[in-house]
Homo-oligomer: 429 residues x 2
């Protein structure tokens, strides 16, 4: 019976292991094969005069990154990783790798991000890369668990939609039989319909699609969004939830991803709550003091501004109380000052992670806001209708999974947090 | 503090409840308002001469399906649902519903599926409908949990792809900046790349898109697929896993969705394992005996054939050992009889739920099979490359979430298992 490499200890007597050949060192009479599976490394030591002929012959044919099955006895040794080596009595090549490899898996030769992505199946063999996706998987699971514990219903909404519901023009068009359709840029309006349906607490973790032309290290055209919506809640309630989500994600990684964090050489600090909450006006003041740009109340926050504020804050923080004019039409204005709305962004010192708000639940106010943005209500009557038949107050947010992973692990490029990223120029592999 | 309606008992003294007005019965001096939230129903009883004037006035304005907030004292009574009623001292309309409603939520008037889907936000207020999606959410969570327990990595693969990787022509084309791209019909090839990457056990629960023109009660053009792939496994291993997944889903629903099952009037029986496994040849024999169609070895199973076999079997079952010719090119042929392959379908008596196989992991054999299907390997060289650099043996399956829910709950139309279905004619809401 095969055992995972991490379970092979100096005390193990015999072992069957299956893995990839990470490295070969042939010293003449002696050869070392470093095997790798998803749990670790194991040195196979072949003393050519002592080993069975079939083992020596097979090992000679075994190129780097071939898949092999090796059985033998385990010996304790201080010279090998993990303090043990395998002395083989069988050595079988399951799948032989051609040479040269399109990418050096052993990480001795650094590769450009494009070469890495073109050969993701090799790139992801590197423990540092595999670690990122093990952590991403753990984060997904942790957030699922937290939301289930808190009574949320996991929903699935369609990614093919008929209209540009957020009013933007940055949509990918699609030939849907005789009709034109689009890829959905956000489940926002569907989440709100589920509030009208009385589901009260819903979430979805799913792809969103944005046909934005910018090509940066922190934007992708296909992204994973964690979307949440809650009835009878305001922006404060959902900011509190967002803190719990972030803390749960970091905690789960700390508790369950030790080897992955080690591979990445990261000591993860769990963010302290409550996260500071500053108003948009305060954020603008901080930015205006720190950067050499003309910046005033009502402006969107530029990348430079975000960076300056992030440096000042140093931890996760919220920016609240945004000008109504620069937030989407569905953000609820304050009753006593409608030029400011109950919207917020969750910021990591490096970048924005999440946007949310208490939403407008009153039909006529929503219509007014749609008109104020210069949008035409006809385009989304299917969205407006639920507001006429008993819509509860509600609030929610969307959290970028890719950015959450990127900032948690200090990755320089969002493409490192996504297995098969899609950008301005990339639709493969 | 608001309490969920299910927590209001005859012993409760005072309660604040928020919900929708499901029904109004005004008997003159006496009026009953049945409130509904996602947890149950509560009767609000207003004796007009005794109730505060403000309550009587507000209640008069409160149309069916309005959202209201009511506070008052609880009295035990055998005449009301749950053995208790609320005698209000405040009654506030949070969101007033217009009349008439586009759909009768109280289920007294049956509605066509199209009317229901056009007004899903009202349709899903019905406890029978909400129950389906609570159960679907529980199933998603249960399957996630099982796969995490078994050491799977949750992956996210791109839905925008460059090529028709399964060779079909049934793809939705998409304008991706200057390039043509498609919506992915299955994560199959990405799962296999992750096997090449050494991830060993991966899963994804995500949308798939098929531009098939048929318009039936069991096909949709956008579906949710539960996809699994395992290295160093064969078709038997992944059939065993599939049984565990089905059983876990049914068990979780039985254990955690009591009220939802009650609303649907379903007593769920957990399928017994192992599921019977019959070969394709045996299945053809059963069908040939039962139906009036010309059917012979090598044919696809028609709907009528599936139905006949399902009636004979009466429980979940596998059809194994399919002719290589009618399964996808990546299914592994038997070494001793390559005209038959290690593919299987998981069948519910009513219909197919899942397809899977041990996959081909040898590059040259894969190339041969691609050519045998009349496909051009140039179209997916990015897919073939991983097979040249150390591809482990592997097996997997895709399980249709929508059909799983449909068959579990005995729904007549797959559209009932999907919040916002997409079919030949429907892209809204």
């Amino acid at each position: 019976m095969r055992i995972p490499i991490k379970d092979v200890t100096p005390e193990t007597e015999r072992a069957v292991v299956i893995g990839w050949i990470n490295e070969v060192r042939d010293l003449g009479g002696l050869a070392f094969y470093i095997l790798r599976d998803r749990t670790g490394f194991l040195q196979v030591t072949i003393v050519k005069k002592k080993a069975p002929e079939a083992v020596v012959a097979a090992a000679k044919e075994a190129s780097r990154e071939s898949v092999v099955r090796v059985t033998g006895t385990i010996k304790a040794t201080e010279k090998a990783p993990g303090g043990r080596e395998l002395i083989p009595d069988t050595f079988e090549i399951i799948s032989r790798a051609e040479s040269p490899l399109p990418l050096d898996v052993s990480e001795k030769v650094p590769a450009e991000i494009d070469t890495r992505l073109d050969n993701r199946y090799l790139d992801a063999r590197r423990p540092r890369v595999a670690a990122i996706f093990q952590i991403r998987s753990a984060v997904t699971h942790a957030i699922n668990n937290l939301l289930f514990e808190e009574g949320f219903t996991n929903i699935t909404t369609s990614k093919i939609v008929a209209a540009a519901t957020e009013g933007g023009t940055e949509l990918f068009p699609l030939a849907y039989f005789e009709k034109e359709a689009f890829l959905n840029q956000s489940p926002q309006l569907y989440k709100q319909m589920m509030m009208a349906a009385g589901f009260e607490k819903v979430f979805e973790i799913a792809p969103i699609f944005r046909a934005e032309e910018h090509n940066t290290t922190r934007h992708l055209n296909e992204a994973t969004s964690i979307d949440v919506e809650i009835s009878f809640a305001d922006h404060h309630d959902v900011m509190d939830l967002l803190e719990r989500v972030i803390v749960r994600a970091y905690t789960a990684v700390t508790e369950t991803c030790g080897p992955a964090l080690e591979a990445l050489e990261i000591e993860l600090a769990i963010p302290e709550t409550p996260f500071p909450r500053i108003t948009y006006a305060e954020a603008i003041d901080i930015a205006a003091l720190s950067i050499d740009e003309d910046i005033s109340y009502g402006d969107d926050l530029s990348t430079a501004a975000e960076r300056a504020i992030g440096e000042e804050m140093g931890v996760h923080y919220f920016i609240t109380d945004w000008p109504t004019e620069i937030k989407p039409y569905y953000a609820m204005p304050y009753e006593d000052n409608p030029t400011v709305c109950k919207a917020f962004d969750l910021m990591h010192p490096r970048m924005e992670l999440s946007s949310g708000a208490q939403r407008i639940h009153e039909h006529d106010l929503l219509l007014t806001q749609i008109a104020a943005k210069g949008l035409s209500p006809e385009g989304f009557s299917f969205y407006l209708q639920p507001f006429r038949y008993g819509m509860p107050p509600h609030a929610g947010w969307g959290l970028g999974m890719d950015r959450l992973i990127m900032t948690m692990l200090g990755l320089q490029n969002i493409r490192e947090a996504v297995l098969f990223p899609r950008d301005r120029h990339r639709v493969t592999p």
